[in-house]
């Protein structure tokens, strides 16, 4: 059976499910078929994947809130009391 046609506007909303392996096989085939013919959507997909990869390269301390020093001190004091 030929995979169904997907419009670009639909494909951009399926990208994450596709990358996460959450699409059923017939939908994967439809996405693959579209990507084989559409450089723009392929670029979109690559950029979405690269975004995730770029985030994995960010230093944790640059993006995440950290526990305040005061809180860490409180915990260390609790740890010491334990022993």
């Amino acid at each position: 059976m030929t995979p169904r046609d997907i419009a670009c506007q639909e494909l951009v909303e399926l990208v994450t499910e596709y990358l996460e392996g959450a699409l059923p096989p017939d939908e994967v085939a439809a996405v693959d078929r579209h990507l084989a013919d559409c450089d723009s959507c392929l670029r979109y997909l690559r950029q979405m994947r690269a975004t995730g990869r770029a985030l994995s390269l960010l230093p944790t301390e640059q993006v995440s809130e950290t526990l305040s020093e005061e809180a860490v001190d409180t915990l260390l004091a609790a740890f010491r009391r334990r022993h």
């Binding site: 670009c8 951009v12 994450t16 670029r43 950029q47 390269l57 960010l58 944790t60 950290t66 809180a71």
Partner: protein, 200 residues
């Protein structure tokens, strides 16, 4: 139990403060992010994380190592966070609508290519990947990440920055697998758009 876990556990039980400080500093950022998905303010999230660590210390001697140490700590965290937490009912607004501006696509009635990219709407070509590491780009990404709606930020940050898997994130944030993917999708799509705008 991981070998590393056995080692850490032995040190904690022996009262090695340096080892304790190290895991507190290493895990608390991800823990704060999980807590923030359950409670309203950073201050409350910090209380949740503190209370969790106190609970961890209390239960440490009873920990039997059936789960990984981190998994066990995060499980305690989720219980504490839920107790402090709000019940969510704002899922829908955050998850509605397209993630790419509809103006970038041809109309439904386009005779040739309905709902395909308009020539002027195609994704802008971005730099090859090594450029992803450039400090300037990292700064842009970090700022955009911080500006995402809270739960999108939580999912994207836990998955992509802290490297947790989908199932862990679902458990920690009380999400269904489908909703977890939707939040990840919307968050990454927004960050991609910011990257594209910076490139054009």
């Amino acid at each position: 139990m991981l070998v590393a876990d056995t080692e850490v556990l032995a040190r904690l039980r022996a009262g090695d403060e340096v080892a304790f400080a190290r895991i507190v500093r290493a895990w608390s950022p991800a823990m704060l992010r999980v807590a923030r998905a359950h409670v309203h303010s950073h201050a409350t999230a910090e209380e949740v994380v503190q209370e969790t660590w106190i609970g961890v210390l209390r239960a440490l001697d009873g920990f039997e190592g059936r789960a990984q140490l981190r998994t066990w700590v995060f499980r305690i965290l989720v219980n504490v966070a839920r107790r402090h937490g709000k019940r969510e009912a704002r899922m829908n607004a955050e998850l509605a609508g397209p993630t790419v501006d509809p103006a970038r696509f041809r109309g439904d009635d386009d005779p040739e290519w309905p709902r395909h990219w308009r020539d002027e709407g195609v994704p802008v070509e971005t730099d090859p990947e090594p450029a992803l590491l450039a400090r300037e780009f990292r700064d842009v990404l970090a700022v955009a990440l911080a500006e995402l709606p809270e739960r999108q930020r939580a999912v994207v940050e836990l998955r992509d920055v802290h490297g947790l898997d989908a199932q862990e994130v679902c458990e920690l944030l009380d999400l269904t697998p489908a909703n977890q993917r939707v939040l990840l999708h919307r968050g990454r799509a927004r960050l991609r758009a910011v990257w594209e705008a910076a490139a054009s």
